[in-house]
Subunit: 398 residues, 4 copies
């Protein structure tokens, strides 16, 4: 029986050419798999047919938008996941979601190998391959761009030579990856890190500098999960989508950064994640109200490690599972409402209320009703500072 | 010889009353000490004379603005210090600066005790007393508001009874602490955490929602120290002051949060720190360009601990000193320019350049000149993911 | 109705005197509660009757040995809990176990207050009171030794005056706390930290320097839980008891240290924990075999925080619960056998076997059968070291 | 001019064969460099002459024993460096020391490449190559065993064919790496992790089970540096050597473990480090006496990261330098004497004294002279436990 290779298929030029290219390089049959994680663009059925037209022996398409929101974006919100304190892991979240479908297709179609269209200098190759080897340690991985030197010029030539049904006319200056949680853009002139981004690179967000009316939104969470927007019940996917639209319209969620890639280099990246940034801002603030101090302090460290791990492609790793155990426990009480003003590129929390709140008006107030026993403080300070004080005595005697 | 008490004196009602109150409670002579950390307001000499008029046997005033900027604000910038990812430690930075002057005055005037005007439910009492016991373990601390039940009403009555030269007419609804690095505001109606702040609470910042022209600024750092604004050399104090003005004019640096106090309660706090937020944003981005990845990842944890420690009043502690050892080493190469747009409440970095940059165009580019050897990646991924893969094999065999 | 106070009762002089002392100080009725956590000594019923004879209105006794082993010692083994890398938390584990019974008794008997016999300079007062306030925030706490200045001399005088049925003849030079997980000893001559402990301070362990035959034991764990000793099924309590005997007979588990107390001072402590040390040594080694590297590395940090938290008396805290979420997940695969030699004060692992092992002979061997693909390493090293290399290039150009 | 390759030369079969092998593979001239880090064995001059006899164009030998002790072992002692809480980094410390000499020789002799004899599945290849690329980013690295498939059998054949002056008679069953800080042994029968080590694998240590007299030693440290043994001044090297002898004679420092290698696999390792283990035990205890609690707690985390980093071959990395900044600051006060009993495989501290001690007898004692103000504790406990208590109230209302 002929070997089979499952290919992560986008419908674009590169992965369309990969179908034939892989077949020629390996002698295997290619099964194309396209996964909708909210990237928009063409209809899944159109993509499926194009894969077959390009020579795939089978083509699978999956609407994974809700799965992506529930199982990948939501944990990132619970973890307030911002790589380098800024980037909400947009592409890093979609890769494991796609990997799961690739592996399922490999099992279904008896494939021995999974292929993807990534280059050899980015993070996504690691996310695909480390993910696949963790879900299916027996599967091999290939990346034609990296392993078979498939450049864009060669791909266009191949496409024209074989008469593949793909438009190759003009290359966009942008390299884009997008899904419902956000959008990543790379392009040549941004490789000079002194150059500012131009408006043209953005698609999910309006210009924050344009004067417009502010938008006020109330988000409701239950145990860390967004469950309503302005009081109307939503799925996680709907929460992201509605905030993409509303926060995007106010220019919220643009990120321009120099980023530490797993492969050891620094790269300039521009992202948009209006829904992601708004959700995380609201979730963080609700945690401030409902999570006890020491748990909150430790959770920041756990969040950082979780985020690095996911960025680094280790979604399906034992450490990730154990950190999730911590994070889920920490989110048990993160329930309540957060009111935010979306405006001028900012998502600003202006109010919070929760029946799980740890904010105690009577302990906090300086007005009538104050129940805080200030006489306790002297003893607290004395003992809290004692180890430093003893060290100071020693150090000053030197 | 009569005992002496050094009092942290602000010139306001509470600490003016404290002078006589402490004298009556303890039989000691009171030495008033006022320290200018950029809080603005009255002239230091006016304050000095008022202290004497209120009964102080001595009154010392010190212009500590440059000292505060260089020795307290600058380390916070190097540490990207944001408590709970938001608050740049405004008051927590000024307390140790003031403590140093209080202790010096106690030594000079032979005092056995230091007094401050804090209540017994806030952080500042800890910062004063832990600071004092670490610089001068032999000194005692008293806080008349906490220890002698000196309420505001009693203070006003005392003031009127003694004819002290203080206006007690109407109480501001706001409790304010400010210095050159920022401003903290508490007030009754914000104790309902669902209430949004009103414009009236702000003083260092304009309304970010007001349409206006953006301001572009270039900041230059050397080894983590801001040394020029738009190419013109500045001291750290000048950098903060100029950015307070320019970022403040664009509404940058407003913070509204529910905060975990050291004394175990959550409180609602509103802050403004236009200069602090702008400086930290620029510094963080320059670190992204000049600090190696593993150092940068670890530094985030160190920053968090540094920030908690300073928030908690342990500025003069052995751990703080050792963390500074790490942070200063990490800032050695943080030199270069950062261009920022100040607008609509946001300080957005749009460009960076540095001769200490670790961004390597030839490794990062996808265009001509790419020197990254992609053939290395396959081996990297295989071994990087191996421990997870071996665990996956085991887990799936279960 | 008369107020009631629940007293943590040991049967000894101090807490026997507390019964009447508290009644006199507070006017309340005293309910005595004695909890058997394996401390040995008198029969529970004897203790119960003595409490009543000393004036308690009610006396409750509970055999909590299995509960203590399963719910308190076991989590400590899973966390490899060694405070300051040495001390297996003996007393810190028993306090929350006792607290649970005190609170249950307070509810049953309608008490408003809980009392304990601790002094005001140790950790145990915090463990009792922080524990009680976390299980029953409405209950008050009192500590007669600390709050009513009940010294030992006064206690003896009281005892004799009231004719309480307690022997007060001669004071042991040792202050001892013990339970099935170990034993803590303090005594005057050890307060000089240059003095070595003498044999007389030890009770759970024989002198390790005495020549004797070694003992070999095989421990079996399932998901981190010790389930068999030399192939014979055991409860956790039995595992600890059997190892106390066998490891204790070989002098295993003596600890002599200078310890950082929560109240800010350093103290000299001598402990014995033969079963605890042997179990943790075996468990750690089985983790080395069955836990993936990144999870194992992170778990060390989590273990340290867990241990500090428990030492500090915060057993019933939100952070403890979330850390348990992590630790339990990490122990899922910690199953298998560990063979140890107990001898000369050491518990040395000499073999491990597990069907959950991640040790792969074929990847590890340098002999026939080696499946490790060494050609992958060059790429791995190149990319693994790249960020350092780029930084080196920059630093050397300086 | 002919290219030159600097080879890390041991004088043994493998690296002797490498000289000719590399010359044939690359056409380059080979410069042999042997570094004495206390591994014992042959005289350096004998080794130098053998290298020349095997075809090296130049041969350099260096006595780096003091340099190794001062610059590599000492930082490990200050960091209490125990990988996986057990292994004192023996080989991981020597590699960067050797790398420094290799790079210096490459510069002196105008070499473009450095070669080493490691296989492709261990840690040492990474330590060599990451070290070299951080000291000399322009140098290339080759490893004939890994890159040119130079197996042992081929090496013997080559040796006989060329008549190299090396004895190839019988292969030891052991693969050994040793230096003054310790010794690592691998061998086939230990690859079954259920097998116990046999006495024959050990060389630096006597059997701990043999009855013998205990040895008592007093170590003196200044700022973390061992400066005297039993009151007699020593260099760091002498301290290690003397303790190797005395602790080794008592069987101290044997380690048998399953270890997580950087290349992703677990391996069985047996080590001996009598001097290393004794020094670290003493240093840790002196830190307990002289380092303030919060600094000590944080230092444990820093130590773990330092140890992982060095194990992983990143000695010359920016993060290592910044961690050293922390560790050196933390060791400033670690001065004083530690008395230890060496016996039966254990190095047990029995006394400590220091004029930098933070142990305060008057605060610690329960006898006459107690200066601890117990009345402070109630307030401390109340506020210390408050955030947990507030959370408990909330959680129980659920």
């Amino acid at each position: 029986m002929t070997e089979r290779v499952v290919l992560a298929y986008s419908g674009g030029l590169d992965t369309s050419v990969c179908i034939g290219w892989i077949a020629e390089e390996t002698g295997a049959e290619v099964v194309a798999v396209a996964v909708d994680v909210g990237q928009g663009g063409e209809d899944l059925d159109v993509i499926r047919k194009r894969a077959l037209a390009c020579g795939a022996v089978e083509a699978e398409v999956a609407d994974a938008k809700d799965e992506f929101a529930d199982e990948y974006c939501l944990p990132a919100v619970k973890a307030n996941a911002l790589y380098m304190d800024r980037y909400p892991l947009v592409s890093a979240l979609s890769r494991p979601a796609i990997v799961k479908h690739l592996v399922a297709a490999a099992r279904k179609h008896g494939a021995s190998t999974v292929a993807h269209g990534c280059t050899g200098k980015g993070n996504d190759q690691v996310r695909f391959e480390a993910g696949i080897s963790s879900l299916a340690p027996d599967l091999k991985c290939i990346a034609p761009v990296r392993d078979y030197a498939m450049t864009r010029d060669k791909a266009i030539a191949y496409c024209e030579e074989k008469g593949l049904p793909i438009t190759t006319s003009k290359k966009s200056p942008y390299s884009i990856d997008q899904n419902v949680f956000g959008r990543a853009v790379e392009t040549g002139f941004l490789e000079d890190i002194w150059n500012p981004p131009i408006e043209d690179v953005y698609d999910y967000t309006e210009n924050p500098a344009t004067p417009r009316e502010a938008d006020e939104v109330v988000l409701t969470f239950e145990a860390g999960v967004p469950v309503a927007v302005d009081g109307k019940p939503v799925t996680v996917l709907q929460a992201i989508q509605q905030l993409n639209e509303r926060a995007g319209a106010q220019g919220v969620g643009r990120i321009d950064m120099v980023e530490d890639r797993l492969v050891g280099i620094k790269s300039r990246e521009v992202y948009e994640s209006p829904g992601g940034i708004a959700l995380i801002a609201a979730h963080q603030e609700l945690e401030s109200v409902t999570v006890e101090r020491e748990l909150a302090r430790y959770k920041r460290q756990v969040e950082q490690r979780w985020t690095e791990l996911v960025y680094d492609g280790l979604w399906f790793s034992p450490l990730k599972r154990a950190l999730d155990g911590f994070i889920n426990e920490a989110n048990e009480q993160v329930s309540g409402d957060v009111r935010m003003t979306l405006h001028g590129g900012r998502a600003v929390v202006t109010g919070r209320r929760s029946d799980r709140s740890l904010y105690d008006f009577n302990l906090a107030t300086y007005d009538t009703g104050d129940t805080f026993d200030q006489s306790m403080s002297k003893g607290f300070i004395e003992i809290f500072g004692m180890s430093s004080k003893i060290a100071a005595k020693r150090d000053q005697a030197q």
